[in-house]
Amino acid sequence: MEVPVNKEEGHANEEGNINPHKEQQVEESTAMGRRRKRKELRISEEERQRRLRIFEKEIEPLINDLLRFATTFLTQGNIDDAYDLVQETLLRAFESLDTYKEGTKIKAWLYTIMRNLYINEYRKRKAAPQTVTYEEYSTFKSDDDDEGPPPQMTPAGDMRKEVESSYLSEEVVRALNKLPEEFRIIVLLADVDELKYEEIAKILGIPIGTVRSRLHRARRMLKKELKEYAKKLYRIEDKSSKD
């Protein structure tokens, strides 16, 4: 399965596995208040239900993450633009779900569709990437399976009361917002979305070495910024582990 990418501005394209003989063009208003022609999907009811099931199970839980990615990295904090972009991304993804295997990692693929959409439709960059195959991403799942067990967090409830307070969230967000954009997005993709370096590199279109070095520097900056905050939390954690 391929990430659908528009070659011509303002038109849905036929890349990916969408069969052009099963579609017809319909005009609709779309992302960011513009009008464009979309290939209307003609699929069997059974296939539509399968895709809806995948949408509800695999994609719906990621919509908050998609909105965050869009506002942080693509729309400079504009939530309305991010909404439009995510909506268009979801429609494109739905059109291309024909070869998707349920249970396969899908987040990096969705981020890549969104980034390509942004580049090709909204920023009109000339040097836009063309396609990214889904198979490239699906291989990461088996890599994950080979890894040893992840280290476990010390008692899960230790910091819950502290962390769940809005004040502490504000502290972290404030510190994160102080990072340069290219550092901020990498921290989000690595530490919040828990994507692998290879996935991040593909989504952002940068070498893996750059991902690694930016991530290292970003974490250092963030730790420095959150030093006092972290000390307080370490004390809480130490206290709870002694109890």
């Binding site: 895709r51 910091m159 962390v163 974490r219 963030l222």
Partner: protein, 86 residues
Amino acid sequence: METVNNACLKFRRLLEDALDGNLSPEEYKSFIKHATFCPACHRKLRGEIMFRKLLQRALNQKQQELFHDKAQQLIISIKQRIYHQR
């Protein structure tokens, strides 16, 4: 006073890669083994895990506050459009 030997230095050099899933199973096993014998490195490991969990929780909470309504609107809108394509 914390004692740091070569094994500790190696452990700390690998810390980020280990938690980012970049080590082979063998490397990871040896990495974790050191932490079980070295209290100082165990603390470092715990601190790093905690830092990431805190970041994740804080941002997920913030994200939930910011995007919950928009996400719900999107789900409804997308489903309507999907059903309209019949």
